[in-house]
């Protein structure tokens, strides 16, 4: 019989399908795990609703639970519970090390464009002399920025 801890550890081995340096647990998409005998229920709180990786994540979690010899039930939670604040401190460091600037913390009031234009730290050289090039990027979760100090474009996680 599996324990919740074994399930959490197994889920922590699944890489994010699009940014494989970080695991699904580091990404914060596993909201909770319930074990009831041989049945394991994983509450999955998705990132962006239009993210094509969501189905890959769901299938990968079910597969990991099956490998532990249990019957998976992955429930998709369609509410406001996922936020970039759920990315773990280790996850943020791994993102930074691979050239993605982590998101700034979620605030109670809506974001203003002017707050996004300047001041985010470049993950390559650490300078804060960076500009917003595009609110949108190659995937729904990222914006594109440019570092004026090391002249390197980089991607920034959008705060949600």
């Amino acid at each position: 019989m599996v324990t919740a801890e074994q399930v959490w550890n197994a889920l922590a081995e699944i890489p994010d399908p699009e940014i494989p340096v970080i695991s699904l647990v580091d990404l914060g998409v596993v909201k909770d795990v319930h074990v009831d005998g041989d049945n394991v229920r994983v509450e999955f709180t998705p990132t962006f609703l239009g993210c094509p990786a969501l189905e890959v994540m769901r299938d990968a979690m079910a597969e990991k639970v099956r490998e532990l010899g249990a019957e998976p039930h992955v429930d998709v939670v369609l509410d406001d519970s996922w936020s970039t604040d759920r990315i773990t401190p280790q996850g943020r460091e791994k993102l930074r090390a691979s050239g993605f600037a982590p998101a700034s913390p979620r605030q109670a009031r809506p974001l203003q464009l002017v707050e996004l234009q300047r001041g985010f730290r470049c993950p390559y050289c650490g300078s804060t002399d960076t500009n917003l090039e595009n609110l949108f990027g190659p995937t729904p979760c990222r914006s594109v920025r440019y570092c004026n100090a090391c002249r390197q474009p980089f991607e920034q996680f959008k705060t949600i």
Partner: protein, 214 residues
């Protein structure tokens, strides 16, 4: 059909059809940044449509894909605003800005819903929509005062009103300077001629092999 399923379908159809129209800029937008922006916005809107269809599908005993692709054009409940094919930048930005402004009003109301599933999903969608609004407002600020843009806003205003139920129209009108809430809204229910060609293209692959699992 329940009132809830009907409202969910209206909203899902708005997001799906607008997402399709936004994606028509992929590859041909005026700059690479806007190509990426409209493609990404399209992806978000279609993701929202899927989540809304999934809630509706559970109520109706069907699937999100069947709702999105297996209905006839007359069964779609989207507002005519999102159907119009507007490959002109002034019109595109006018529609984008009007839609995102109306959508903010709609989401604010849905977040207060006493239906926890609807309120929860609206809160999640709103987090993503913040970026659409920032983008739309940036462009509207840039184009404000340009006759081509102002004319496009005036032309599309009655269509934009048709997105919202009557009780939300005053709040919407207050956000769009120079407009009045009752100016001849183009309501849901009668589609424009431009929906059918979109539908033909959107459902073509699925109709080619009915019942296939992709």
């Amino acid at each position: 059909m329940t009132e809830r399923a009907q409202r969910l379908l209206e909203y899902a159809d708005d997001e799906l059809i607008l997402g399709w129209r936004d994606s028509e800029w992929t590859g041909i937008a005026p700059s690479l940044e806007e190509d990426v922006a409209f493609s990404s916005i399209a992806q978000n809107e279609i993701g929202h449509a899927r989540a809304l269809y999934e809630l509706a599908a559970r109520d109706l005993g069907t699937t999100a894909d069947e709702l999105a692709f297996d209905r006839t054009p007359d069964d779609y409940r989207c507002a005519p605003l999102v159907e119009l094919r507007k490959l002109d930048w002034a019109h595109t930005i006018a529609r984008h800005w009007l839609y995102e402004t109306a959508d903010e009003v709609r989401l604010a109301a849905l977040k207060q819903s006493d239906d926890p599933e609807v309120a929860g999903l609206a809160a999640k969608m709103d987090r993503e929509e913040v970026y659409h609004r920032l983008h739309a407002e940036m462009w509207a600020d840039r184009l404000r005062g340009e006759p081509r843009f102002e004319n496009a806003v005036a032309e599309l205003w009655p269509y934009a009103l048709g997105l919202l139920s009557e009780e939300l129209r005053t709040a919407f009108s207050e956000r769009v300077p120079g407009t009045v809430p009752g100016t001849g809204p183009v309501e849901r229910g009668v589609h424009s001629d431009e929906l059918r060609p979109l539908w033909e293209e959107m459902t073509m692959v699925r109709r080619s092999v009915p019942g296939a699992t992709w």
